[in-house]
């Protein structure tokens, strides 16, 4: 079984999330445990798919991943936004629309064989918009509730999702082009070179946020 370095960080963050589950529930982000479980399973299958199933690519795994992970991520954002009933309803409608597009794209537009770049772009854009929204709310919430951003678990989660999405929107959007043209950086496939680092940063940020959840719950 092949595991890339960022997958160790990913596994570590899942382990930490399970250990800090009470802290995560305290901050209403317990949904991150199934998200991380799904991320880990996808990455493990994805990195070994071509070898085990003798398939030319692993696009199928990641296409399915978008289908399953999007509702979970939208639920996570809804929990972090802490909006009123009207806002939750709006988010639900947007979420249904995004999920419908992903399903339609998966079955009808780009199909199951090709990498669903439209889905990657759409999910990346949604992640950028929603993480910016959460971050802005954290920074300008009511004065009496204002606390230091650096000690807020939501800050680390959303800052890392934002930075990861900014990288992934370019890399995943051009994924097919990069693969076909064998674009390389420092002797490594450009896609891997950038996404591995972005993934490592994302899951390191998550791990820090989980520790903050646990320590702040104890207080």
């Amino acid at each position: 079984m092949t595991l890339f370095y960022y997958q160790y960080v990913q596994l570590f963050s899942l382990l930490l999330a399970i250990l800090c589950r009470k802290g995560l529930n305290f901050f209403s982000i317990g949904i991150l445990i199934p998200i991380l479980l799904l991320d880990n399973i996808t990455e493990i299958i994805g990195s070994n798919f071509t070898r085990i199933f003798h398939s030319p690519d692993n696009y199928f795994v990641y296409n399915i991943y978008y289908l399953l992970s999007t509702p979970l991520y939208l639920y996570l954002f809804a929990a972090m936004l802490k909006g009123d009933a009207r806002e939750k309803r709006r988010l639900l409608i947007t979420g249904i629309a995004i999920e419908l597009f992903i399903i339609v794209n998966y079955f009808c537009i780009q199909g199951r064989v090709e990498f669903n770049t439209f889905n990657a772009l759409l999910v990346g854009t949604a992640n950028i918009v929603l993480s910016c929204l959460v971050l802005t709310r954290l920074a300008i919430r009511k004065e009496e509730e204002t606390k230091m951003l650096m000690v807020d678990p939501y800050f680390w989660i959303n800052a890392m999702i934002l930075l990861f999405s900014l990288v992934s929107i370019i890399v995943l959007g051009l994924q097919t082009y990069i693969a076909l043209n064998h674009l390389q950086f420092e002797g490594k496939n450009l896609y891997f070179a950038l996404l591995e680092a972005a993934n490592a940063a994302l899951y390191t940020g998550y791990s820090g946020a989980f520790l903050l959840c646990q320590t702040q719950r104890s207080k």
Binding site: L135, T136, A139, E144, L149, L166, N181, L183, Q184, L190
Partner: protein, 261 residues
């Protein structure tokens, strides 16, 4: 010359870096906004704490002032009247015919003492300032000074009277009391004018005396320096401002501006 692939790779890397730069910039900007908001909240809380502390001190000072006034009133007026009535009544002998005019006079003294006690009781009512407007409270204070004699105190008002927040009213009243005390203790003034000007958003109170005056620059070393500092501090805590103007031989003018809310 770099080949096409290399150019595209470099462009992709540059775009990623630019996007990351803007992402980090956005996060840093939010962190700065958050830092400023926390700083403002801290300052606001410190200001509120200071205001509460000052308010408590003001209440204690007004209470102390009221007790002092009561003690003086009882000793100088009620006590005197009752003593006089007691002396008059004790002069009556059982066998002697009753001296009705003297009895009537003694009765009159008791009645005046009773009237004084009633008006004192009214003033003693806990938090009585709360039930008055600032104008009424100042009028009552002026009455006390007039009663003591030796000083002409006038109160003028311009504009329509407005409601001031209770806490601010209490502090403003204490500021005026402090100004009047300074006039009585240090200024050797013969005339005092208290002028109220009611603006749409704030009230301006000007206390002017024709006393000795003093050199503002030397005030911190004088006894009244602490009192003046109190006036400035209290006006600032109510969200208002104060200006103290004085020159030797030209009297003193204290102007305080306080927002209603």
């Amino acid at each position: 010359m770099p080949d096409a692939k290399e150019q595209i790779t470099t462009t992709i890397l540059a775009v990623v870096l630019v996007l990351l730069f803007f992402g980090v910039l956005f996060i840093m900007m939010l962190s700065y906004i958050n830092f400023r908001r926390r700083q403002t909240a801290r300052e606001k809380k410190a200001m509120q704490d200071q205001f509460d502390q000052q308010l408590m001190q003001t209440r204690l000072e007004i209470q102390e002032q009221t007790f002092r006034y009561l003690s003086e009133e009882i000793h100088d007026h009620v006590g005197q009247l009752l003593s006089l009535a007691k002396i008059q009544l004790s002069s009556f002998k059982e066998q002697e015919p009753i001296d009705f005019p003297l009895l009537k006079e003694a009765g009159g003294h008791v009645a005046r003492a009773l009237q004084d006690l009633r008006s004192l009781a009214k003033g003693l009512h806990a938090g009585h300032i709360r039930h008055f407007s600032i104008r009424e409270a100042v009028d009552e204070e002026v009455q006390r000074i007039r009663k003591a004699g030796g000083l002409t105190v006038s109160v003028t008002s311009e504009g329509d009277e407005q409601k001031i927040k209770e806490e601010k009213q209490l502090i403003l009243f204490r500021i005026i009391q402090e100004c009047l005390q300074n006039c009585l203790k240090h200024a050797a003034a013969t005339n005092i004018n208290i002028g109220f000007t009611w603006y749409s958003e704030q009230l301006r109170v000007r206390v002017r005396d024709d006393g000795l005056g003093f050199d503002i620059d030397q005030a911190p070393t004088l006894n009244s320096g602490i009192g003046l500092e109190n006036i400035r501090n209290r006006a600032r805590l109510t969200g208002g401002s104060s200006v103290i103007y004085s020159r030797p031989g030209e009297g003193t003018t204290v102007t305080v501006q306080i927002p209603y809310e």
